[in-house]
């Protein structure tokens, strides 16, 4: 068995260069809703970029320095744009029933990414190291403890929440987004309802 040849075949069967970086698109891809996903992805890139800069200088920097606070503001507003675009993306994909024709995996991985994004946001609020972090830490601990998660995740352990926010959660999120994008590019955009012919009723 030649593993490399198998991988080549898998790629050819599932994701050609034209799939990954398309230069043609079905004519029905003609609405602003198709931009919500790429807007979410762009905000995620902005979040990673500003987050890396904040990580380089450390938590004190974004409180004590004007430049640091500005980068913190960029990160803050990127979060708002990210979740705004993400919610619009999810709602529009729901209204298009974009899971049809075998695209259920794309939907589910996207939903998982949304869940991870929310938890990444929580660890982000806890990592601000300001009053918000204090209050959210003591409030969120009750929910975390009630669910039994408090035994291994402590919202008041700044070391843990900071490393979770800077390393673990972004890695998980980027991995899920990567798989989500792979499925999107592999499958292409789902057809409008009436063009599906005999598959019209299928989920």
């Amino acid at each position: 068995m030649n593993v490399t040849r198998q991988a080549q075949r898998l790629l050819i069967d599932n994701l050609s260069l034209e799939d990954a970086l398309p230069t043609r698109m079905p004519v029905y891809v003609s609405s602003v809703v198709y931009l919500f996903g790429v807007t979410t992805l762009s905000a995620l890139i902005a979040l990673v970029f500003t987050g890396v800069i904040m990580s380089l200088f450390g938590p004190v920097w974004y409180h004590d320095s004007n430049v640091g606070h500005f980068v913190n503001s960029l990160h803050f507003w990127s979060v708002q744009v990210f979740f705004g675009a993400l919610v619009l993306h999810m709602v529009s994909k729901y209204l298009m029933a974009a899971w049809r024709d075998g695209r259920w995996k794309t939907w589910m991985v996207g939903a998982l990414a949304f869940g991870v994004a929310v938890l990444t946001g929580l660890t982000g609020f806890l990592s601000q190291t300001n009053w918000d972090s204090q209050w959210i830490a003591v409030q969120a601990k009750d929910a975390v403890n009630a669910l039994g998660v408090g035994a291994f995740f402590n919202t008041m352990d700044t070391g843990q929440v900071l490393t979770m926010h800077v390393v673990v959660m972004p890695l998980l999120l980027v991995l899920l987004v990567g798989v989500h994008l792979f499925f999107i590019r592999r499958e292409g955009p789902v057809k409008p309802f009436q063009t599906e012919g005999r598959h019209e009723q299928a989920n």
């Binding site: 050819i12 050609s16 799939d19 970086l21 230069t23 043609r24 698109m25 079905p26 004519v27 029905y28 003609s30 609405s31 790429v38 807007t39 992805l41 762009s42 905000a43 902005a46 606070h69 500005f70 503001s73 960029l74 803050f76 507003w77 990127s78 744009v81 209204l95 298009m96 029933a97 899971w99 024709d101 939907w107 589910m108 949304f114 869940g115 929310v118 946001g121 609020f125 190291t129 009053w131 918000d132 972090s133 204090q134 209050w135 003591v138 969120a140 009750d142 009630a146 669910l147 408090g150 035994a151 291994f152 008041m156 352990d157 070391g159 843990q160 499958e187 057809k191 409008p192 309802f193």
Partner: protein, 314 residues
């Protein structure tokens, strides 16, 4: 195209497209929007509430917090896992209490960890506190409770004279001296350090004890002023006039309605509801009716209006 997409898009008219150009333009627009928002509105950064701040600005509240903890009135006193062994107090739903599954993982004895141990550090520097601490530790638990309860009962009428918290005369044993020691510790800015003092120093990054110290009344008082309490949709709000974690509105919503709004198990109940909601979201493609709704709602006719106009016309 791959075999898969070739088959799917057969007979579908195609148009020229440039994925990277579109992506770069959107990225540029998002970057500009974010920079403008950050430059115009900045971001919230409400300063931390420290022991030093509370001791200097609200010495009576500081002493009340300390005395309540010493009296065993801290909400952590019988919280249950992961802090204490009182498993009866863990939140439960239909008899299931997930908090108890892994037991006590971060044991906290509020009286010892929040008051007596920090006072032992103060006692090294302050002979009066050392003597008071010896007296207190030598007394019976009943005597200790009598002193603290009597002291707490008059604290509401306490006055601050030359920075000292004064109460009406009474038999409080060594408690006023101990509380004065705690207040000095707070004013010195060393409270948090004393609370987190452990073998991990100077690399301690776990602030569990110092955050729990003020959570009951002091933090709640600040949070109420800032519109951040649970019944104010707290966790989805932000300090100042900034958007908060509005994506948590559905989560915060369930805390506002019965039976959760008056339940001792609200966190677990809302948590269970949200896990259920998330599972529905995850499994929408497989759920009848919910997965059929988009066709019936016909919003897709608007999204693909160009295509439908073309199809209808053709």
């Amino acid at each position: 195209m791959s075999k898969r997409t070739e088959a799917y898009f057969r007979n579908v008219p195609m148009k020229p497209y440039d994925l990277l150009a579109e992506g770069l333009v959107v990225l540029l627009v998002v970057a500009v929007v974010v920079v403008v928002l950050a430059a115009v509105f900045s971001s919230p950064d409400y300063p931390t509430v420290r022991g030093e701040d509370v001791a200097n600005r609200q010495p009576v509240a500081f002493v009340q917090t300390s005395a309540n903890i010493l009296a065993g009135n801290s909400s952590i006193q019988d919280y249950g896992p992961p802090y204490t062994s009182d498993t009866d107090n863990a939140q439960s739903l239909f008899g299931i209490a997930p908090a108890n599954w892994l037991g006590v993982r971060n044991r906290i004895d509020p009286v010892r960890d929040f008051i007596l141990t920090p006072l032992e550090q103060v006692a090294v520097l302050n002979h009066d506190v050392a003597t008071a601490l010896d007296t207190y530790e030598a007394a019976s638990p009943d005597q200790q409770q009598t002193w603290v309860t009597a002291y707490l009962s008059v604290l509401d009428e306490a006055t601050v004279v030359n920075g000292e918290v004064r109460v009406s005369p009474g038999d409080y044993g060594p408690v006023p001296t101990l509380m004065s020691g705690m207040l000095d510790l707070g004013r010195s800015g060393l409270l948090e350090g004393a609370l987190e003092s452990n073998a991990g120093l100077p690399f301690t990054l776990d602030f569990t004890r110092s955050l729990l110290f003020f959570q009951d009344d002091v933090y709640a008082g600040v949070a109420e002023k800032l519109n951040l309490l649970g019944d104010q949709w707290g966790i989805s709000n932000e300090t100042g006039r900034y958007p908060g974690a509005w994506w948590l509105w559905p989560y915060a919503f369930f805390y506002q309605i019965e039976p959760m709004s008056s339940s001792d198990n609200a966190d677990l109940e809302v948590g269970a509801i949200m896990i259920g909601v998330f599972l529905i979201l995850l499994l929408i493609p497989l759920i009848p009716v919910i997965s059929w709704l988009p066709r019936w709602l016909r919003v897709h006719r608007v999204i693909w209006r160009g295509w439908y106009a073309r199809s209808d016309g053709g």
